[in-house]
């Protein structure tokens, strides 16, 4: 019965209902859209990191600490046989890391020099460009961020200086064979990539590596001696920490939008009760109990949210689908700021996001509909009939 009356009241109120529904739908849309954007950003950052850096995990030389460049001198060695075996089967790629200095346009600049197998397909880096003939120059692959920072262009040559295993400095000319577009600043900024054989020769570290990255879905290798296995979760921990640090920001945005939607509903309920007090009195006079009148108004608020959901699907759905397919172009390149962010952001609307958002908003709307409606229970029918608020 309350349901029928609530429907009648909502439909009967005409424009007032649709305005309320529209405002709520707008908030619904914005909450889903922005949550989708955040999820998209996170998913993209995870994907790019796994794709270009982490793959299926790594085995580290026991001395290796990527956050401490002073460990690079000592963190090299021949990988154990089981890892070598995976490298030969092309299930893993060795990387030799060392400190170096480069002199682009005569300026000195410290870099991390990474030797990698050019023919590898385990991490999504265009390392095959390192196979290019360079007439004895060291072929160097850099990212576009590094290129901008060093003002290096394709084909530019520059001096590279390094410290070999015997603690002797040596230097040679390198040439930029490719500038890669990557959204992962960690493989770009401050890093130069060269063929691993060349690096091993330069550093006098034949067949040695600092870490070995394994392909996705390669099972855990046994007999890796003191080489430390770092799984995806470990290698992603910085990224997860960044995302986690960003979580409060996303939640604040979510709460602001929810508060906007909530205020709209709360206001319209308050206004509704103020405007319809005579109607409330009449309903009591014809025999409706106070609790049922409260139920009626709460149900109207709840149905307002339901209609808003339908309106969001009908009006906002095509936009959400469009953005999910074609993405949203970002106005600036965030990789320069040290953020892993696509140039075209693809929002992700997971079922969990849609269901949780819908349920949460529905719950909040019901509470916000109920709270002002409780005021009805305190109304004296005789005052309400006359249109007075008590």
């Amino acid at each position: 019965m309350l349901f029928k009356l609530a429907i009648k009241n909502l439909i009967g109120a005409g424009l007032r209902t649709w305005l309320n529904v529209f405002v709520t739908a707008l908030s619904f849309f914005m909450i889903i859209f922005i949550s989708g954007m955040y999820d998209g950003m996170r998913k993209h950052a995870r994907q790019v990191t796994i794709d270009t850096e982490v793959a299926g995990g790594s085995y580290w030389h026991p001395e290796f600490d990527p956050l401490d460049p002073f460990t690079f001198e000592d963190s090299h060695g021949q990988p154990p046989a089981t890892i070598q075996n995976a490298i030969q089967k092309q299930q893993a790629v060795p990387v030799l890391v060392s400190q170096a200095s480069i002199y682009p346009h005569g300026r000195i600049m410290p870099v991390v020099m990474k030797g990698i197998e050019p023919s590898q397909e385990i991490v999504n880096l265009p390392t095959n460009t390192l196979l290019e003939k360079t007439d004895g120059l060291i072929p160097v692959l850099i990212g576009s961020g590094m290129a901008d920072y060093t003002k290096l262009k394709l084909g530019d040559t520059f001096m590279i200086r390094w410290l070999d295993v015997h603690q002797s400095y040596d230097a040679d000319e390198g040439i930029v064979v490719h500038i890669m577009e990557t959204e992962n600043f960690k493989v770009d900024m401050g890093t130069i990539w060269i063929p691993i054989r060349k690096a091993q020769t330069m550093l006098s570290m034949e067949n040695e590596a600092t870490y070995v990255t394994v392909a996705k879905n390669v099972p855990l290798l046994n007999g890796t001696h003191n080489w430390i296995h770092r799984d995806i979760a470990y290698l992603m921990r910085d990224m997860e920490a960044l995302i986690e640090a960003d979580e409060p920001g996303a939640q604040i945005m979510y709460l602001i939008l929810l508060a906007l939607a909530g205020m709209g509903i709360f206001n319209s309920q308050i206004l509704s009760i103020f405007r319809r007090r005579k109607e409330i009195g009449t309903l009591m006079a014809v025999g409706m109990t106070r609790s049922r009148v409260v139920g009626l108004f709460t149900m109207e608020g709840g149905m307002n949210a339901f209609l808003a959901l339908i309106m969001t699907i009908v009006l906002g759905g095509p936009f959400l689908i469009y953005f999910a397919i074609y993405g949203i172009p970002m106005p600036i390149d965030y990789t320069e700021m040290g953020l892993i962010m696509a140039k075209r952001l693809m929002p992700v609307y997971s079922i969990a996001l849609l269901v949780s958002t819908t349920l949460f908003i529905a719950f909040v709307v019901l509470i916000l509909s109920y709270l002002p409606s409780r005021r009805i229970a305190k109304m004296k029918p005789t005052d309400a009939i006359r249109g007075k608020i008590t």
Binding site: G12, G14, K278, L283, M284, A285, G287, T289, P381, I385
Partner: protein, 236 residues
């Protein structure tokens, strides 16, 4: 002989005003039998509407006994009073109190929905009630499309559609012109005679008084005169 519809003994009604109390009704003793066509008459502030509200269970007495339709309203809960109103009473208000977003049909249908009458029966009863007040041609209209008289006739149809035992009317003709007032009163008299429904009016409208068979005069919260009229002038 059937039990009285309304039986009031030693009623006192006070409202808190600031730190004090305002006495709206005192020493009220009253009995109304089934089928009576009664008016509570008196100047503004005499307590007519307060007494009507107490009889309707919309307000509670401060002291005294109020038995309406075999229920002691003084001890009844909110929900019990709502149940009595829903099943056995009808209300007519000065300003009609129609629900603005509902059509005439839907307004009249409301008490039947609350009484859980099935859809077919609701339709039949609503059409019958609307016809009895002469509004069949306006059944799909909304209140803003109706004149004052038509609104009040809709309110009457709503008050009688579930065939209540008692109809309480608070200044039902106050907002109407003379012609509409007489028209409304004739409808109510006819319903009273046909259905044996008891009517209690709170009024100071002279036009109504010519239809009443009993006039209870109130002044300053007391009954000052209880007049039985065997031959009301407008019905003769």
């Amino acid at each position: 002989m059937s039990k009285p519809v309304v039986e009031i003994q030693n009623l006192l009604k006070q409202f808190p005003v600031g730190g004090d109390f305002f006495t709206a009704l005192k020493e009220i003793d009253l009995t109304l039998e089934k089928g009576e066509f009664t008016g509570l008459v008196g100047p503004s502030g005499s307590g007519k509407t307060t007494l009507l509200n107490i009889i309707g269970g919309l307000d509670a007495p401060t002291e005294g006994t109020v038995n309406v339709l075999n229920s002691n309203l003084g001890t009844a809960s909110h929900n019990e009073r709502a149940e009595i109103r829903k099943t056995k009473m009808g209300f007519i208000f000065q300003s009609y109190n129609l629900l603005p977003v509902y059509t005439v049909f839907e307004n009249v249908e409301l008490p039947l929905i609350l009484n859980k009458v099935d859809k077919e029966e609701r339709k039949r009863l609503v059409e019958k009630a609307v016809e009895s007040v002469g509004l069949s041609d306006k059944i799909e209209s909304r209140p803003n499309m109706l004149s004052g008289g038509e609104c009040q006739r809709t309110a009457i149809a709503r008050a009688i559609v579930h065939q209540p035992v008692l109809v309480l009317a608070d200044e039902p003709t106050a907002n109407l012109d003379a012609e509409n007032s007489h028209h409304i009163m004739k409808i109510l008299v006819q319903l009273n005679q046909e259905l044996e429904t008891s009517f209690i009016f709170a009024t100071h409208d002279e036009k109504i008084m010519g239809y009443l068979r009993r006039i209870i005069h109130l002044d300053d919260g007391r009954i000052v005169k209880d007049e039985h009229i065997s031959n009301p002038e407008n019905l003769s």
